[in-house]
């Protein structure tokens, strides 16, 4: 299987995973390990007493094993995203940022204009920018021209489990791979087969959080996603057979041992 390189860094896994929504850190650790993922997303939040999900992650994971990807979740504008990105860099020591600029609380759809503005500033500040976007190939190309490290089109709304809803648009991304940085399909998946499907289309990687964290057995589901992403990539690189309008028998059509009309039996 070919290697994935993002911002000059060779990655061992094409599955990225989030750390949100796990019942506890022990389960999260086990699921992350089972997934085989290397890139792991985190958020940047105030240290507050009594707030859900606000246990510090620094000591919860072995960061020698994972590549931390701080996000800008919570930002509604470019200005807010810059603030969160800078705090994320100060916290993690990583120049990588998953850029999320989301003004819409219902569907959590990213704002393309504010995302573009924030990406432009962050690239100039030396960040490796991984922007979360709607599956718009034109926007993706403009972000590529800015120097973004990836583009991260959404398969379906975050946490919705609706699957590869945007398949047709993601096919256009696949056809435009030559002019795009690595394409990381992010958000909305439910089944490993959908992750495999995204990889078969030509995605370079897939990011999954809720589908693992909210599975009945997150550890098994994490392993399943890890295998699916590998299978999908291997299939993409292997290349599929041609599609035909009608059937094509797999067994020889000659020499079938059945009586012919002119035979005595």
């Amino acid at each position: 299987m070919s290697e994935l390189v993002i911002a000059g860094r060779r990655l061992n896994s094409r599955l990225f995973v989030g750390t949100g929504k796990y019942r506890d850190f022990a389960l999260m650790r086990e699921a992350l390990e089972a997934s085989g993922a290397e890139v792991v997303t985190v958020s940047v939040r105030r240290v507050e007493v009594g707030a859900a999900g606000h246990q510090g992650l620094l000591e919860a994971l072995d960061w020698q094993r994972y590549r931390v990807l701080p996000n800008t979740a919570g930002a509604r504008t470019a200005v807010e995203a810059l603030r969160l990105a800078r705090l994320g860099r100060a916290l993690t020591g990583s120049d990588w940022v998953k850029l999320e600029v989301i003004p819409d609380p219902t569907y959590l759809l990213p704002d393309p204009l504010e995302t573009y503005r924030a990406a432009e500033a962050l690239v100039q500040e030396g960040f490796a920018v991984l922007p979360y976007i709607a599956p718009d190939p034109v926007l993706a190309h403009k972000l590529a021209c800015l120097g973004c490290a990836t583009v991260m089109p959404l398969a379906a709304p975050i946490g919705s489990g609706q699957g590869l809803k945007n398949r047709a648009m993601l096919e256009i991304f696949a056809r435009q791979r030559a002019v795009l940085p690595p394409v990381v399909v992010d958000a909305g998946l439910r089944w490993p087969s959908e992750a495999a499907g995204a990889m078969e289309l030509g995605a370079d990687a897939v990011l999954v959080n809720t589908a693992i964290a909210e599975a009945q057995d997150p550890v098994a589901m994490a392993a399943a996603f890890g295998q699916a992403v590998r299978a999908g990539r291997m299939a993409y690189e292997a290349g599929p057979m041609p599609e035909r309008a009608s059937a094509s028998p797999s067994s020889p059509t000659q020499g079938v041992p059945l009586p012919q009309p002119e035979m005595p039996l």
Binding site: G18, T19, G20, K21, Y22, M28, T41, V42, S43, V44, R45, R46, V47, E48, V49, G53, H54, Q55, G56, L57, L58, E59, V68, P70, N71, A73, R83, R86, L87, A90, L91, T92, I158, G159, A187, L207, N209, T210
Partner: protein, 68 residues
């Protein structure tokens, strides 16, 4: 009043490190595991300014949290 993580607190005259240690102590997080912003300027891992906080200062103490 000084704004600490979005709340108005009587902390004038305290040092930033005192405030950060108090916030971290309440949550059981090491001060080495946080980033601190004072009036939109970021201060990293223990190298916080010594000047006492003054009325109207805005302090943010953040850490890596769970997220997707």
């Amino acid at each position: 009043m000084v704004w600490i993580n979005g709340k108005a607190v009587e902390a004038e005259g305290k040092s930033l490190s005192e405030v950060v240690e108090a916030v971290c102590g309440q949550r059981g997080i090491s001060p080495d595991a946080v980033a601190v912003m004072l009036n939109d300027e970021i201060w990293v891992k223990g190298r916080w300014p010594a000047r006492p906080l003054a009325t109207g200062d805005v302090v943010e103490v953040v850490a890596m949290m769970q997220g997707g």
